[in-house]
C-alpha cells in the first residue's frame, strides 16, 4: 500500500501542472503582502470605516492592527474560496486522466484490487491538498509574520471587534488550517467521484467547480426558506466554519477570554457533516468503480 502511495505521489509531483496551484498561491499571497506592506493603512481605514462613528482609532493602533496574523486572516478569507479549483485540478484528473492516457487499463491488469487502487489515488489527492495548505501556511502565516511582525490580532465582526492576544493566536491558525484541509478534502472527494464517470479530466473539474459555485451561491443567499431546508445540508455552508476558531467568548466586561471558542459545538457539527460528505463521495466512487467495465 505504501509503495503504491509513493508511486501515486511520484506521478503527481512529476507533472508540471501540479505546480500551477503552488505558483498561483504564491503569486496571490505575495501580491496581497506587497499591497498591504505599501498601502496597509488605507486598507485598515477601509476595514474600520463602519466602526469609526462608534470608536476613535488612532494611527498607532491602526499600525498595530496591521500585523502578520491579520494579514494571514485576510489571505485565508480570499484564497480559501478559490482553492477548490486548485484541488479539483488534481483530484478530477486522478481517474479520468488515467483513463484518458490509457494507463488505467494497464494499471488495473496489475495484482491490485480496485478498492486498493481507489484508496491510494484518493489518499494521494488528500496529501496533495494538505501540501497546498502547508505551502499556503508557510507563505501566508509565517511569511506575513516575518514581513509584518506579530501583535494582538483583531477580528472584525458585524457586532464589533474582537481582540485576540498574540500568544492566543497560533493554535487557532493550526486548527483553522486543519479544518480547511477537511473542507478541501470534501471538494477533492466530490471531484474524485465525478472523475470515475469521465474519460478526460476537464469534465470532472468543470462539474466540480459548477457544483461548488451553485452551492456557494445558495449558501450565501439570504432567502429565509432556504435557511432551514437547504443550507444546513450543503457542504459549502460548512466549509467556511474555520472562521469560528477566531470567534472568542467574552466575559461580563466584554474582555475576550483567552483560549476560548465562541461556538465549538457548531464547528464540530460542521466538521462532522463534511466528514460524512467525504465518506459518501468516496464510498460512492469506490462502489461505482468496482462495478465499472474498463473500456478505454
Amino acid at each position: 500500500m505504501w509503495k503504491l502511495l509513493q508511486i501515486e505521489l511520484f506521478k503527481i509531483f512529476k507533472r508540471p501542472r501540479t505546480y500551477i496551484a503552488f505558483g498561483a498561491i504564491a503569486a496571490v499571497v505575495f501580491l496581497i503582502q506587497i499591497a498591504l506592506k505599501f498601502d496597509g493603512k488605507s486598507y485598515i481605514d477601509l476595514l474600520l470605516s463602519n466602526l469609526k462613528d462608534s470608536f476613535d482609532f488612532n494611527d498607532d493602533f491602526k499600525l498595530d492592527l496591521l500585523n502578520g496574523y491579520l494579514i494571514c486572516f485576510v489571505i485565508l478569507n480570499t484564497l480559501l474560496i478559490q482553492m477548490p479549483l486548485l484541488v479539483a485540478l488534481i483530484s478530477g484528473d486522478s481517474i479520468a486522466g488515467e483513463a484518458n492516457m490509457g494507463t488505467l487499463r494497464l494499471s488495473l491488469t496489475k495484482p491490485i484490487s480496485r478498492t486498493q487502487y481507489m484508496l491510494v489515488k484518493f489518499l494521494a489527492s488528500v496529501i496533495y491538498t494538505v501540501a497546498l495548505l502547508v505551502w499556503m501556511a508557510i507563505l501566508a502565516l509565517f511569511g506575513s509574520m516575518l514581513i509584518f511582525g506579530t501583535n494582538d490580532m483583531v477580528v472584525l465582526r458585524s457586532e464589533g471587534i474582537e481582540q485576540i492576544k498574540s500568544f492566543d493566536v497560533m493554535w487557532r491558525y493550526f486548527a483553522a488550517f486543519g479544518y480547511a484541509a477537511v473542507a478541501l478534502t470534501t471538494v477533492s472527494a466530490l471531484s474524485f467521484l465525478l472523475s470515475v464517470f469521465a474519460e478526460n479530466s476537464i469534465g470532472p473539474i468543470i462539474a466540480t467547480m459548477s457544483i461548488v459555485i451553485v452551492f456557494t451561491i445558495l449558501s450565501e443567499m439570504n432567502i429565509p426558506i432556504y435557511d432551514q431546508t437547504v443550507k444546513p445540508y450543503l457542504f459549502t455552508s460548512h466549509m467556511v466554519a474555520w472562521k469560528g476558531f477566531f470567534y472568542v467568548k467574552a466575559d461580563a466586561e466584554g474582555t475576550t477570554i483567552n483560549g476560548s471558542i465562541e461556538n465549538l459545538p457548531a464547528i464540530m457539527r460542521s466538521l462532522s457533516i463534511l466528514l460524512i460528505y467525504i465518506g459518501l463521495f468516496f464510498g460512492s466512487a469506490v462502489w461505482v468503480f468496482r462495478k465499472k467495465d474498463i473500456l478505454t
Binding site: 494499471s107 462495478k291 467495465d293
Partner: protein
C-alpha cells in the same frame, strides 16, 4: 499438454449488444496462441475479460487452474499484458514507467534488471528519455517491456503490431518467438493481421461476432497443400447454386457477394477449372490464394468494403 487458460461458455452483453456469445477455448502451456477476428469480432472484449477489466455476463474463466474471479491477484501476478495501444506515462522516462509498473506487479525489481529489460526490447540507450519523445514502434516495445518486467508466465498481447512499420512488426514477431522458444512463456496474441499470426502461432481461434468459428492447431486447421480459390462470375448466386448441386460440391467452401470460394488441393485445380468452364457458369476470374488470411476470410463474414466494391 496442460492448459494455461480454460474459458467455458463466456458471454458478455453491453445493454442490447451481445459482444461475446458462448465462447469456449483453451490455451495450451508454452505455446503462442493466436486470437483472430476482424475488427469488432469480440477479441478485445474477451481479452479484457481475461484481465478482469470487464466483468463477464456469464461463463467461467480459469487461468493457471484457478478461478479468475476468486484468485484475481494471484493470477495477475503471473500475467503480463498490453491491451490495444501501449499507453504509458508520457511525461516520465522509460525507466520510470518500467519501475512503476514493476512495483505495481508486486515485485521488487533491481535497477539492473529494469535496464536489462529495456535492452531486450532495444531501448537501452533511451532508458532516460521521456516517453513523449518515443516513436510508435518504441512505445510498442516499451509496452511489451512493461508487460514482461515482472517475469510473467502468461503474456497477453492485444494487437501488438498495431501502427508499426514492417521493421517494427518483424521486431515484435522475433521477440514473441524468443519469449516462447528461449524463455518458455505462454503467449496469447490477438490480431486482425492474420499473416502475422500465421508466422508465429502454434494454435489459434477464429472468432466472428463474438462466436467461435474454429479452434485448433494452425497446421491442422490450415493444410499448406490446400489452396483457396476465389471464383468471380457474372452471377455469383447462380454459380454457387450450380456448383453446390454438381460433382464439384465437395470443393465449395462458401459464397461471398463478390465471389464463390472453393477449397481444393493444388493438383486438382486444372480439372476443376475445366469442369467449371464446361458447366458454363460465366467465369470472370479465377484466383488462387494460399494463406491463412484466405481461410479466415472464407470463414468470417465478408468485409463490407469488399462487398460494396464488388456490387
Amino acid at each position: 499438454m496442460a492448459s494455461v487458460i480454460e474459458v467455458k461458455g463466456l458471454n458478455k452483453e453491453f445493454r442490447d449488444i451481445k459482444a461475446v456469445s458462448n465462447l469456449s477455448f483453451s490455451v495450451p502451456a508454452g505455446q503462442v496462441y493466436g486470437f483472430l477476428g476482424q475488427n469488432g469480432a469480440g477479441k478485445s472484449t474477451t481479452i479484457r475479460m481475461l484481465l478482469t477489466l470487464i466483468k463477464p455476463t456469464s461463463g467461467s474463466i480459469e487461468i493457471f487452474g484457478m478461478d479468475l474471479q476468486k484468485h484475481r491477484k494471484e493470477i495477475l501476478r503471473k500475467t503480463g499484458a498490453i491491451i490495444e495501444r501501449p499507453d504509458l506515462y508520457k511525461y516520465l522516462t522509460a525507466l520510470e514507467n518500467l519501475r512503476i509498473f514493476g512495483t505495481m506487479s508486486g515485485v521488487k525489481i533491481p535497477e539492473k534488471k529494469l535496464r536489462d529489460q529495456l535492452a531486450m526490447v532495444g531501448l537501452a540507450d533511451r532508458a532516460n528519455s521521456k516517453v513523449k519523445t518515443y516513436s510508435q514502434g518504441m512505445k510498442q516495445r516499451l509496452g511489451i517491456a512493461t508487460a514482461l518486467v515482472h517475469d510473467p508466465e502468461l503474456i497477453i498481447l492485444d494487437e501488438p503490431t498495431n501502427g508499426l512499420d514492417p521493421q517494427g512488426i518483424a521486431d515484435i514477431r522475433n521477440l514473441i518467438l524468443h519469449l516462447k522458444k528461449d524463455l518458455g512463456k505462454t503467449l496469447v496474441v490477438s490480431s486482425h493481421l492474420l499473416s502475422e499470426v500465421e508466422l508465429i502461432a502454434d494454435s489459434m481461434i477464429i472468432i466472428d461476432k463474438g462466436r467461435k468459428l474454429v479452434e485448433g492447431k494452425v497446421n491442422d486447421l490450415f493444410d499448406p497443400s490446400e489452396i483457396v480459390v476465389e471464383v468471380k462470375t457474372i452471377n455469383n448466386e447462380t454459380a454457387y447454386e450450380k456448383l453446390k448441386t454438381s460433382r464439384l460440391s465437395q470443393f465449395v467452401l462458401s459464397k461471398r457477394n463478390d465471389a464463390v470460394l472453393l477449397k481444393l488441393h493444388r493438383e486438382q485445380v486444372p480439372a476443376v477449372m475445366k469442369e467449371m468452364v464446361q458447366m458454363d457458369i460465366g467465369i470472370l476470374s479465377f484466383h488462387s490464394k494460399h494463406s491463412l488470411e484466405d481461410y479466415f476470410l472464407s470463414l468470417t463474414t465478408a468485409n463490407p468494403h469488399v462487398e460494396a466494391a464488388a456490387n
